[in-house]
Symmetry: C2
Subunit: 225 residues, 2 copies
DNA sequence: CCCTTGGCAAGAGCAGTGCTCTCTTTTGTG
DNA sequence: CACAAAAGAGAGCACTGCTCTTGCCAAGGG
């Protein structure tokens, strides 16, 4: 009916269906899911799937983008509470909760890159959403005087950080951006450590441990070195 | 000649040779290296390799243990300098340098776990070596009064941390252990972020950025929340 | 309303994989 | 030195990603 013809609509639906089944397989087989198995589950020939995704890598790319977007919206929706620490912790827990619910998708986006695989440009947009959320919170905290800047950073690193600041939260001092990125790295590291088994046989009180870590990260942001 | 007969020695040499070739393949193909391809490189039938490793997973396990050990000795050898921060930074940089030199081996041990793969007990010993190094440095700093403990931690998490303290650096307050683990997580997160492409198109001054992050982690340890 | 054409699905096929089984050869050792 | 144990080779099974060819079918223009 619309300019996007019936064909296009059916095609989009089929594409979504393939992705849905692939996501199910992802939950059991991880990144080495089989395109043929997905096709079998859909009752179609494996060659037919290639009408929708030119290769297995392209399917994976689609799932990576979806995962980034899902995590991104989760984080964006989680910005609640008042005061910097509460808002930050809220985001952290939402990220961790999502990761615990979708471990293989987390592994897909924050785990080791698939060997022969090169992430295309399309992934960078969705990929930065969660760091953007953190950047925004930190920016607001900075504007509200909740976070001191500390000593300025020079050299190439200073330029890099200034550029990120401009893109993320204009007006925020680069030093703060560095600490925000530190918090984000710490967040991803903590979630990955828990998910990838680095805490096995060591820490049982996972949630408490995570919260402690993220409180440390929040404190790191509030006070300069 | 020895109690370990000639057969056993030849077998050990062959095993090492297979691992060496596999490590070379790891550098190009990552975790999905092909046992058959390794066999081809060695000029032997693929079935012959199964005399040495019962499965591809077992080969991977061997490489994981080797990687943990290589990284562990690197970190242990890097404890130099005087004062907590210097010693800590020295270890951090040695870990990062090793990871940059052996990215796929890093991915093998700190990246997403191989899907159907369960790490056997043999890996836990080598796996804890680097966190042990950090724990020891922090313990010494604590003993030297370079790191205040801060508020005690109760509940299950407190017990967990006390247990880790006992195993790692006896006499160190659990709160400090928590911060040491935080630093370790931050370290792994920073290296993984750099290696897995999370910093692409953002931070060019990688080493400076890393150092800044690790200085933050060091400061985090020195002062309580 | 018909008929063309563009898109879709199916199947066979290729090269490669992990792993098993059987058979033969080698080789250290009692 | 004879022999048993260890090692290697090769075929084979079920699977993979991907390509190519063939047949089909309906959407949309005339």
């Amino acid at each position: 009916m619309t300019a996007a013809s019936i064909r296009a609509r059916v095609r989009a639906e089929m594409t979504d269906e393939i992705k849905a089944v692939a996501r199910r397989h992802l939950a059991t087989d991880g990144a080495n899911l089989s395109l043929r198995a997905v096709a079998r589950d859909l009752g179609m020939a494996s060659s037919a799937v290639y009408r929708y995704f030119a290769s297995r890598d392209e399917l994976l790319t689609a799932m990576i983008i979806d995962a980034y977007d899902a995590l991104g919206s989760t984080a964006e929706a989680a910005v609640g509470g008042t005061g910097f620490t509460d808002r930050f912790l809220s985001v952290c827990h939402s990220v961790r909760d999502w990761a615990l619910a979708h471990p293989h998708e987390w592994a897909l986006i924050y785990g080791s890159p698939v060997p022969g695989y090169q992430a295309p440009r399309d992934t960078v947009g969705p990929a930065v959403r969660v760091i953007l959320v953190i950047g925004r919170i930190v920016g607001e905290a900075s504007a509200a005087g909740e976070a001191a800047a500390g000593e300025p950073i020079g050299g190439k690193l200073g330029d890099d950080l200034a550029f990120v600041a401009e893109q993320t939260a204009p007006g925020t001092p680069p030093q703060l951006i560095a600490r925000a990125m530190g918090a984000w790295i710490h967040l991803c590291g903590a979630v990955s450590a828990e998910l990838f088994g680095q805490l096995n046989n060591t820490i049982e009180a996972r949630r408490e441990f995570f919260e402690l870590q993220m409180r440390g990260a929040a404190a790191m942001i509030s006070r300069p070195l």
